[in-house]
């Protein structure tokens, strides 16, 4: 996993609640046995019509969001299936940060394992950013060490993230290697 300390990027506002992982990456793309190459299928049926043409009414197809790396979304982002293909697709497309009022538990974990920062933000603040990103453009800077999100006017908003997850993201640690440091305890458990 690639370490991430600070990230500045253009915001794409996806003003929908309960965005499920079936929408993030539809099932027909889950048959591959690799971890890579899923970005092209992100939000596939929202981005493309049945003939594979871009849908003009879906925001992500708007050229102004072309290089977006920060995703804003509504409540319960990533609900449904446990498919890790969802964060793989987001990451491969270019998203490094997702900001939402709440996340589904499995998705939240899956994002963390892939070096995506899931930031929980209160609805009021989110609405302000959402509006700005929709009506003009918005660039935000996420400082993970200090747990802040700043806009270009340098107004910083604090966010919470469990210390354990923060440390892993900052260092890009391989969790399995960390766990294997406790292998003696696992063995001990097995032998009781």
């Amino acid at each position: 996993m690639e370490a991430i300390q600070e990230h500045t990027g253009l915001v794409y506002p996806l003003n929908r609640t309960n965005v499920d992982t079936d929408q993030i990456i539809p099932k027909q793309f889950l048959k591959r046995i690799e971890r890579s190459g899923f970005g092209q299928f992100l939000f596939y049926h929202w981005r493309f019509d049945d003939d594979g043409n871009q849908r003009a009414d879906f925001g992500l197809n708007n050229p102004k969001y072309e290089n977006a790396t920060i995703l804003l979304a509504g409540e319960n982002f990533g609900c449904g299936s446990s498919r890790e293909h969802a964060p793989w697709a987001l990451l491969d497309y270019g998203f490094r940060v997702i900001i939402a009022p709440s996340f589904a538990d499995i998705f939240y974990n899956n994002a963390l394992k892939n070096g995506i920062i899931p930031i929980q933000m209160d609805q009021e603040q989110l609405d302000k950013w959402m509006e700005q990103a929709e009506h003009s453009t918005l660039t935000l800077t996420v400082d993970l060490e200090n747990q802040t999100v700043k806009n270009t006017e340098q107004q910083a908003v604090h966010f919470d993230i469990p210390a354990y997850h923060k440390e892993k993201l900052l260092n890009g640690w391989d969790e399995i290697a960390l766990t294997l440091q406790h292998e003696d305890k696992i063995e001990e458990y097995e032998n009781v």
């Binding site: 003003n15 929908r16 609640t17 309960n18 499920d20 079936d22 929408q23 539809p26 099932k27 027909q28 889950l30 048959k31 591959r32 046995i33 690799e34 971890r35 049926h45 049945d50 409540e75 319960n76 609900c79 449904g80 299936s81 446990s82 498919r83 890790e84 964060p87 709440s102 589904a104 538990d105 499995i106 974990n109 899956n110 394992k113 892939n114 469990p162 210390a163 354990y164 391989d174 969790e175 399995i176 766990t179 294997l180 406790h182 292998e183 305890k185 696992i186 458990y189 097995e190």
Partner: protein, 468 residues
């Protein structure tokens, strides 16, 4: 006096391998179920880092998501074929038991676990599939994980987990005739929404839960994830013990007696405290039908779609109605369907099939409807055939298929076409779930069977004469 505990706390405490201030607990995993879709990248990760599967003996694999449900000799989809071959190779290399497509133990991973007795009270069970919560019906702590976590469990037989909050969903009273476990869980999610369980493990308690069969309990726990819960479970009782007795992976004789005693002790203690409690009256639950694009968008069959002037999330409801091709305030009874799917890890067990068969016996599937039955496992299929259920379904005009996930998520050829409308016994009505542009209405097996006959939604209690 010893502090009374919930079953959730009891299981948790027995499985902590390592704990440290400010960190999640390292939890031991007793059973890891594996399928073809979420595991290839995990095995690849092990290979790249020169790691081994720590406990192949606690790992069990099957093929379910991709498998064809007819003509298994020829798999047309080369990509699916490769994914299944990859699982086979990974299992062989790592000494993991695999129930492949032609194995008598094959089936949907959440159907075969209990059937084989792999699922047992008190176990921690994980699988790279969100519906792993199903196994909670036996008083196991069972939850879905992503592929990185699958790799982690393969390598270490453990997982870092934050201690969950506990939520008691207490269901009083009794379900009426023709009202099922599926209607109960759909009604709960319709009432409290698709995220009331987030961060919690739900324990379902109360008279109505005690009175459910083990299969009904599996249906309820299966859909805990649709409420956002990390897991859902039910304290074991004599039904749990009776169900597991004699199952392939359950010990016999004295060992069983001892084990059963341990299982009984797992049940939540009188007076144990939960972080939150919700109370439901089962007597008020009617047969349910979802109208929208998440499992919380449901109403009783006697109801109608919501009005835009009645809801908070106007945009969300508007989009859902548009996708579903429905009007606001449209009666459920006016919705015609063209597909019926009886199957999935929610409702494909023998009792589900029996109840649906009782509805369709001697009747004919409506001429506008294509209806399929997909048993949850090879063994369920055999048993159903022994009891003549296949004949009943086929004579009524249903297709009778091989076991797999099938039209629940349409990864194989079982797809609802764009604009098609399906009465489905599965668990998710998300946009495109059963096929791009397909519209899904979640219902019980009985309601799906009645809809197949009528070509539209009807209150299954009209068929009450054949219900019992």
């Amino acid at each position: 006096m010893v502090q009374p505990k919930t079953i959730i706390e009891k299981i948790w405490e027995k499985h902590v391998v390592h704990e440290e201030e400010g960190k999640p607990d390292l939890l031991y995993i007793d059973l890891h179920l594996v399928h073809e879709v979420t595991s290839p990248q995990a095995f690849e990760g092990l290979r790249m880092n020169n790691r081994k599967v720590r406990r192949p003996d606690l790992t069990y694999a099957t093929m379910d998501h991709n498998v064809p449900t007819k003509n298994r000799d020829v798999i047309k989809d080369q990509v699916s074929q490769k994914q299944m071959e990859t699982l086979k190779k990974n299992c062989e290399e790592n000494g993991i038991t695999l129930a492949d497509m032609n194995n008598p133990n094959q089936g949907i991973v959440h159907v075969i676990g209990p059937e084989l007795g792999l699922t047992q009270p008190g176990k921690t069970i994980v699988c790279g599939d969100s519906h792993t919560s199903t196994h909670g019906a036996f008083g196991a702590l069972a939850f879905g994980i992503g592929t990185s976590e699958v790799e982690h469990v393969l390598a270490t037989q453990s997982l870092w987990q934050d201690r969950p909050k506990t939520l008691n969903v207490h269901v009083e009273g009794g379900l009426g005739t023709g009202v099922t476990a599926k209607d109960l869980i759909l009604a709960i999610i319709a009432k409290y929404g698709v995220r009331f369980g987030t961060g919690h493990v739900i324990e379902f308690t109360g008279e109505a839960i005690r009175n459910l069969s083990m299969e009904g309990r599996m249906t309820v726990c299966n859909m805990s994830i649709e409420a956002g819960a990390r897991a859902g479970l039910i304290s074991p009782d004599e039904k749990t013990v009776d169900y597991l007795k004699g199952k392939k992976h359950v010990p016999e004789g004295e060992a069983f007696t001892e084990l059963a005693e341990q299982w009984r002790e797992l049940a939540t203690d009188e007076g144990a405290v939960y972080d939150k409690t919700l109370t439901i009256d089962a007597d008020e639950v009617e047969p349910q039908v979802t109208w929208g694009t998440n499992p919380g968008m449901g109403v009783p069959v006697s109801g109608r779609t919501p009005g835009l002037d009645e809801v908070e999330d106007v945009e969300g409801v508007e989009r859902a109605l548009e996708y579903m091709g429905l009007e606001e305030k449209q009666p459920i009874s006016s919705i015609g369907i063209d597909h019926v799917f009886i199957g999935s890890c929610t409702n494909s067990r023998l009792s589900d099939l029996k109840k649906a068969a009782a509805i369709v016996q001697g009747k004919q599937v409506n001429e506008n409807v294509r209806a399929i039955v997909v048993p949850g496992s090879f063994s369920t299929k055999l048993q159903a055939e022994k009891e003549g259920l296949d004949t009943i379904f086929k004579q009524a005009g249903f297709e009778w298929r091989e076991a797999g996930c099938s039209m629940c998520l349409a990864m194989n050829d079982d797809i609802v076409p764009p604009g098609g409308r399906c009465a489905s016994t599965s668990n998710r009505n998300f946009e495109g779930r059963q096929g791009n542009g397909a519209r899904t209405h979640l219902v019980s097996p009985e309601m799906a069977a009645a809809a197949a006959i009528e070509g539209q939604f009807v209150d299954v209690r009209q068929f009450a004469g054949v219900l019992n």
